[in-house]
């Protein structure tokens, strides 16, 4: 049976955190000496520490499980690992060997190669001679010459029209003169 402390009085505020660390053995050197010195003269802190020593170990569960449990656990995990390996797609396996830093490194290398290629093969990309005429199909070229003809016809018509207009003006002028 457990008998509770009569009051569960708090420890001194300045020492409470150090007492917890002291309990766990995480208080070293001068801090530990300071805590031990204080404990000698402080009943509340001594009770606080005693409480920790009493109730904290109670919370830890027994760890032992039968060996059969661990055998089963291991076998089951082996199956899950094997299933996970089988389920992994080929592309993931392929890329799994890549480290995260390889992606930017490869990207930079590709950009560099592209830039160098464009710089040193600049002249090679220019078209050789004026081959526009060769590339234009014959039918289109015929249509183009027809267009030239029609443009010339339009010009002639415009000249005729000008002459007619001029003739009309000069005729009108003579009437007025008469």
């Amino acid at each position: 049976m457990i008998q509770h402390t009569d009051s569960m009085r708090p420890a001194c505020k300045d020492f409470e955190e150090d007492l917890v660390l002291y309990y766990y053995g995480d208080c070293a050197g001068p801090e530990r000496d300071r805590v031990e010195q204080h404990l000698k003269g402080c009943l509340s802190c001594r009770r606080f520490l005693q409480d920790l020593r009493t109730f904290l170990p109670l919370m830890i569960r027994p760890k032992e499980r039968p060996q059969a449990f661990w055998d089963g656990y291991y076998t089951e995990l082996q199956k899950k690992l094997a299933a996970m390996e089988d389920a992994e797609p080929w592309w993931k396996r392929l890329f799994s060997s890549f480290h995260p830093w390889t992606v930017p490194a490869l990207g930079t290398a590709l950009i560099l190669i592209l830039a160098l290629t464009l710089t040193f093969t600049k002249g090679m990309w220019r078209p050789q001679g004026d081959s526009t005429e060769e590339k234009v199909p014959r039918e289109i070229r015929a249509v183009t010459s027809d267009l030239d003809f029609f443009e010339a016809m339009d010009l002639l018509e415009s000249l005729d029209l000008l002459e007619t207009v001029e003739g009309t003006r000069s005729g009108g002028g003579s009437v007025q003169r008469l």
Binding site: I2, M59, M84, E85
Partner: protein, 179 residues
């Protein structure tokens, strides 16, 4: 570890054999359920295996692995809500005279069974914020050092000390409610 990172299963199996009991125990501390503890800890191993190439070896394997496991447990805890406090082992009820609080006479109305105290402590532990509970479980139950707990929780040692202190103070305070 290099073999593990090359994807060699046999090397990883060695790590499983070395850490499976502690992994299971951590998960059990978080879940209070044997079956869920098994599932959680096995899931942590599966994730560790699939992510082992990302392990940069700046910390030890087990702090890296515990981080995966603790995060899994906390995520599970958040999704499911609080784990019901269970008395997992009948032996827990037994208490020796050495564990009795040595504090003068013990009138019957001030006495409580060890089971009741543990139940109270369990409930108080569940009510703690995740960071305080994690710090406490890793230090008190698993015996990790403050610096190891800090690495698992990816925080500073000072913060772990504060979490630990607050957790212990809250647990002790919960016992005061029994008196």
């Amino acid at each position: 570890m290099a073999s593990c990172q090359r994807g060699e299963r046999q090397a990883f199996d060695m790590l499983v054999l070395r850490y499976m009991q502690r992994a299971y125990q951590i998960a059990l501390d978080f879940t209070h359920d044997y079956e869920e503890a098994k599932d959680m800890s096995q899931e942590a191993f599966l994730r560790a295996f699939s992510q082992i190439k990302r392990f940069d070896r700046k910390s030890t394997f087990y702090t890296w692995f515990y981080r995966i496991l603790v995060n899994l447990c906390l995520d599970h805890h958040r999704r499911r809500g609080r784990f019901p406090w269970k008395q997992l082992d009948g032996q827990d009820e037994e208490l020796t005279e050495e564990r009795v609080m040595p504090n003068g006479p013990s009138p019957p109305d001030q006495e409580a069974s060890a089971g009741e105290v543990k139940r109270q402590l369990g409930m108080a532990l569940e009510a703690l914020p995740g960071s305080q509970r994690t710090a406490f479980l890793l230090r008190n139950h698993q015996g990790l050092s403050i610096s190891e707990v800090a690495k698992v929780m990816q925080t500073t040692e000072g913060t772990v000390r504060v979490h630990l202190h607050r957790a212990v103070a809250a647990l002790r305070q919960s016992l005061a409610e029994l008196v």
